[in-house]
Structure formats: structure tokens, C-alpha cells
Amino acid sequence: MPSKAKTPILEVTHLKQYFPVKKERILEAKRYVQAVDDVSFSVEPGTTVSIVGESGCGKSTTGRAILRLDDPTSGTIEYNGQDIAKLSKKELKAFRGDIQVIFQDPFASLNPRRTIRQMLNEAMSIQNVMDKTKREDRMLELMDLVGLPYDSLERLPHEFSGGQRQRLGIARALAVNPKLIVCDEAVSALDVSVQAQVLNLMKKLQKELNLTYLFISHDLSVVKHISNRIIVMYLGKIVEIADNEDLFQSPRHPYTQALLSAIPIPDVNVKRTQIDITGDVPSPINPPKGCRFHTRCPFATEHCRTVEPELRTINNTHQVSCHYAETLSF
């Protein structure tokens, strides 16, 4: 990784996450879904790092491992230099306060029978964020932060619209003063006009509270808007990591290029070179040998079918895992 002055807030090293598959026959060898297979990256404080990819690429599984919702098969995740798998009970509680998550469907993550006040109060008392007497002020402050009226506190989740619920999800995450927020498809369920409001809000909060975001999304235009650094995943592997501008200006992996060219652009004047990739994503139970993308890659050679490419650095901030990253031109 490029050495900058800052130490990373999050460091993921050789993370593997395999899930066993139910046997179909008794004597069959045990099989695994290789949801995440040897993934390494780091996140610097105060920045937004995004993970993009299509369904089944392992982006959400990576997020879950970072939240310590699943224990990794192998590899380590370090938060501020501490291995999160080895935290003591007390440390784990503090960790849970530092890292928060916002999911796609805000309604599913809000208790339908609790008022917003009860919800925020519970979060704050579990983490013991502040004195009981000051909590009231904190709640009003939170409502201000996410742009909801004060009387929202007395209401139930069903009384809010989708965009408002996502604001509540954000308020709930902010209630415990987190440092890092994992946003798993946080704006995907929202209509564009509301999505824009929530994205602006998230950017504003990041500046004000010096938050770090790990933003997981399938939507490249949203990712482009919010990220400093972008990780592209395919079938459990990282295919490319680069700074925002670098990735969009000069993608080096054919898959990244295909993803970029597949986005429909709301402008009839933009003509782009389309790389057609045929077929579907192969099964992660039995991923292709060699480069995992070779079955769909228009540039694949015999070498790609047999030798798996390493994720290697091609200039100081740009990493890509393709044998022909330097020579391909799209």
C-alpha cells in the first residue's frame, strides 16, 4: 500500500470468508462458497473508501466481516492497529460503538413498535455515550444533524417516508459517536431526488464529524460521487483498487472497464465505447481456474486460463490484478 503519513483506521489483510455448502451426497467432499477470497486493503481516517461490484462479488460479506458479524475463515482485520478477532469483551463493546452500519432498507433496521426517542435512547444507554440528563439535548442535536423536525422523536418508523427513514438510520448510527460507518447499499432503495438529499447529507456529516465511510454499492455513479478511493470486486477477489479519478479516467482491468461502459448514462449525446461482456457470473462454489474473469473477458488468453494474476501495484496508488494491465487499451 502507498505510504502516506496517516496510519490506517482499518486494515484488512488476506481476508478469506468461506461458507460451507450442504452436501448433496454423503461421500461427497466438503464444498465451500468462496464468498471472499484473499482480500487486502486499508482505509485511512476521514476518507470514503467504496467497494463496488455486482451481486455475489463478496462486497457485503467483506462489510459483515469488518463489523465482526461473521468470523473470518482466515486473515485479519485490524481497527486502529488492533486485531478485531482478539478483542476482549470490554474492548469489543467499545469497538461496536466506534463502528456503525447503515443498511439498504431502513425500515427493516428500525423496530416498528418503538418511537424514535426510545430507539436513540437505547443506543446511547447501551454504549453509555453520555450523562442521562444530556441525552435529551443530544437527541435534538441529532435531529438537527440529519434534518428532521424535533417532533419526529415521538413518532414511530411507519410514519416516515423512505428518505426520512434513511435519515433516521443515519441518526441512529451517529447517536453513539462512531468513527467509521459501514454503509451497505445505503442509498440504493431511494428515489433519485431523495438519494441526492441523503448523499449530500452524508458528505456534510463526514466533514463536520470527521467520519470515515466504507461505502458498499453496486451503483458506480453514486460511488464516483462520494468516494476518495474505490475497490472493484469480482467473484470474491479484488480486481482493481485506485483513487476515484484514476479509476474513472484510466481503468486498467477489463472488468472495471466493462462495468463502467455498462452504466446507462442519462444523456443522449454521450457516446461511449461499449465493451460487451457476455454470459453470467460463474458460481463462487467452483470458481474458474486462473483469472476468475477469464470466462467473460474479451481479452483472455491461455495464460489467463491457467495462471491466477496477483493484485499488483502499477503506479503508487493504483493496484490491479490483470496480467495485461499495462498493455491493454480499451
Partner: protein, 336 residues
């Protein structure tokens, strides 16, 4: 001259409940010409899906078409009986939905399902239907269709399932295909495959497509003309090119401004304020007025009508349309 296939006039689909009347579709005029793709675009709750269900007479309770006509080749569908409609659905108008799994029977092979559809509409033998179903699977680009026909839906990927649903919808050569968010549940690389497939098939089979979507990017890619809907009404209607070159209605502009642009750097997005009104809200003026940056007194008092400009090449429902396009293009306005 373009030939009219479907003509919707003054369509109102209301939901009458104890809470009041929900004006989900509130006075829509729309023409679909033979062989074209017409997009209907709007955010959730704007009435775009209910418009398409109205065309097929499939509006769920307590919804009801309370006014207007829907003419297919001059024949009004609103007055048809359920039995007559059954002969029209599938044969003349087909529909595909967002989530292919909900349109497929999970325990019947896909080949059988397509054959069943064909036999429901055409008097052919089982054997012929089976051959036709394999032909249809080949047409939608499914590799080794003979094998795939024997598989059940769970054995296919999402993109494949959507291809099967398209095969089923097109099996009886409909004149109009209504596609309601057909690519929304798919990954982008699969989405672009399906859009390309639909375009190719449309040319090959010479059918018209009514493409319903929330994604302006998809509209730019696949439609000839577009209608933008807001709160049950069409607020702007024009060719796709005109719409993206020069959006007229403040809502259309707001929508376009809200989308993060992939080809430029933006510090901040410009979202519209507020959110869409409930269909139960009573409006005396323009339904968009309280979110509109251009709204004046007249917008809250009078309801603007959809006015055609420049020989009908586009239509806009806005009192301030000329201001929102910086004063140019003063067409000879006529009431539509």
C-alpha cells in the same frame, strides 16, 4: 406517417378508500405508435405502474378506472369484459415485470411454462408448442435451449430468468410489450445485455414497447419518446433526444440534476426539496408547486394543463416553462 397502436385519453385510475380518494392516475393522454419504444419515467408512487396495469385491466382492488378510454387499434379496452380481455392479454399486449422469479412457476420447467402460454392463446398441439418454446428460448439468446427448456427456474441465473420471461411474453407475437422496470433487479452488465436483446427483438418482431422505468439512464439508452410522470400526471412529453438536450419541466430538470454524473466532478448534488405528495392530497394548483423553484402565486391557484409547443414536438405542463428554459423557444402554444 406513424400509425397509432394504442391511444389513451383522459385515463383516471382512482383508489376509493375510507381515507378518501387516491388519485393514482389522474388524467393521462398517451399515444403509442406501431414499432416504437415509449418510455414512462418517474419516481416511486408517480402512477407509472398503475398506468400499465390499467391498460391490461389488471388494476388491483380498491382501484378502479373512473374515466377515460384506452384504445388498441381503435377498440376501447375499458369496456371489454374479463373474457374478452383474456384474449387480448398475451396475444396483443404482453407484460414483463421487474422480478422474473415472481412471474415464473418455481416447480414447472421453463420449457413447459412457455408451451403452456402458447397453448393458452393458440390452437396448436403439445408437440408443436414444445418446439415453439425451444425456438423462443433460442430467440432470446439462451445457450443450448433444448437443455435449458428442461430446467426449472431456480437453476437459472437472474439474467437468464428475465430472458425466459421475455420469451414467454413474446411467444404469441404481441403488438405491444409493456415492460415494467424489466432491468431494475439486474446487475449493470446483465442489464445492458437485456436492453440490447429487447432492442434487437423489437426490430425483428416489429412490436411496440412501453418501457416503464425510474432510471433516466435506461430511458436515454432505449426509448424513442418519453413521458415524465409526477403524482399521477404527465408533466412532460417529448422525443428522448429533446428531453435530454433540453428538459423543460422543472421536475424533469430536478430529476436530471439529482443524478450523480459519471462524467464530471461535482462537490455537491442539487436535490429537489421535499418529497412526492400522497395521492390522497387535494391540489388546487400545480401538484409540483411546493417543491418547485419557479413557483409563483398562480401555480398554487390554478392547475396547469399539458400544452403542446412547436407543432406538437413536445408538451409541457408548466406555467413558467419559458422561464425555466431561459426565455427561448416561444412556440405557438395551443391547448392540448
Amino acid at each position: 406517417m406513424k400509425e397509432t397502436l394504442l391511444e389513451i385519453e383522459g385515463l383516471k385510475t382512482h383508489f376509493i378508500t375510507k381515507k378518501g380518494t387516491g388519485r393514482v392516475v389522474d388524467g393521462i393522454d398517451l399515444t403509442v405508435y406501431k414499432g416504437e419504444t415509449l418510455g414512462i419515467v418517474g419516481e416511486s408512487g408517480c402512477g407509472k405502474s398503475m398506468t400499465s396495469l390499467s391498460i391490461l385491466q389488471l388494476v388491483p382492488e380498491p382501484g378502479k378506472i373512473v374515466a377515460g378510454s384506452i384504445k388498441l387499434n381503435g377498440d376501447d379496452l375499458v369496456t371489454k369484459t374479463e373474457k374478452q380481455m383474456q384474449a387480448i392479454r398475451g396475444n396483443h399486449i404482453s407484460m414483463i415485470f421487474q422480478e422474473p422469479m415472481t412471474s415464473l412457476n418455481p416447480v414447472i420447467t421453463v420449457g413447459e411454462q412457455i408451451a403452456e402460454t402458447i397453448r393458452a392463446h393458440q390452437p396448436i398441439s403439445r408437440k408443436e408448442a414444445r418446439i415453439k418454446s425451444i425456438e423462443m428460448l433460442r430467440l432470446v439468446g439462451i445457450p443450448s435451449p433444448e437443455e435449458r427448456a428442461k430446467q426449472e427456474p431456480y437453476q437459472l441465473s437472474g439474467g437468464m430468468r428475465q430472458r425466459v420471461v421475455i420469451a414467454m411474453a413474446l411467444a404469441c407475437n404481441p403488438e405491444l410489450l409493456i415492460a415494467d422496470e424489466p432491468t431494475t433487479a439486474l446487475d449493470v452488465t446483465i442489464q445492458s445485455q437485456i436492453i440490447k436483446l429487447m432492442k434487437d427483438l423489437q426490430k425483428e418482431l416489429n412490436m411496440a414497447v412501453l418501457f416503464i422505468t425510474h432510471d433516466l439512464g435506461v430511458v436515454a439508452e432505449s426509448c424513442d419518446r418519453v413521458a415524465v410522470m409526477y403524482a399521477g400526471e404527465i408533466v412532460e412529453k417529448s422525443t428522448t433526444e429533446e428531453l435530454f438536450r433540453k428538459p423543460k419541466h422543472p421536475y424533469t430538470k430536478g430529476l436530471l440534476d439529482s443524478i450523480p454524473k459519471i462524467n464530471e466532478v461535482q462537490e455537491e448534488l442539487t436535490p429537489m426539496k421535499g418529497s412526492i405528495p400522497s395521492p390522497f392530497t387535494e391540489h388546487s394548483g400545480c401538484k409540483f408547486a411546493d417543491r418547485c423553484p419557479l413557483a409563483t402565486d398562480i401555480c398554487f391557484e390554478q392547475h396547469p394543463s399539458l400544452v403542446a409547443y412547436e407543432n406538437d414536438s413536445y408538451q409541457v405542463r408548466c406555467f413558467h416553462y419559458n422561464e425555466s428554459t431561459s426565455g427561448k423557444d416561444v412556440g405557438h402554444a395551443k391547448q392540448s
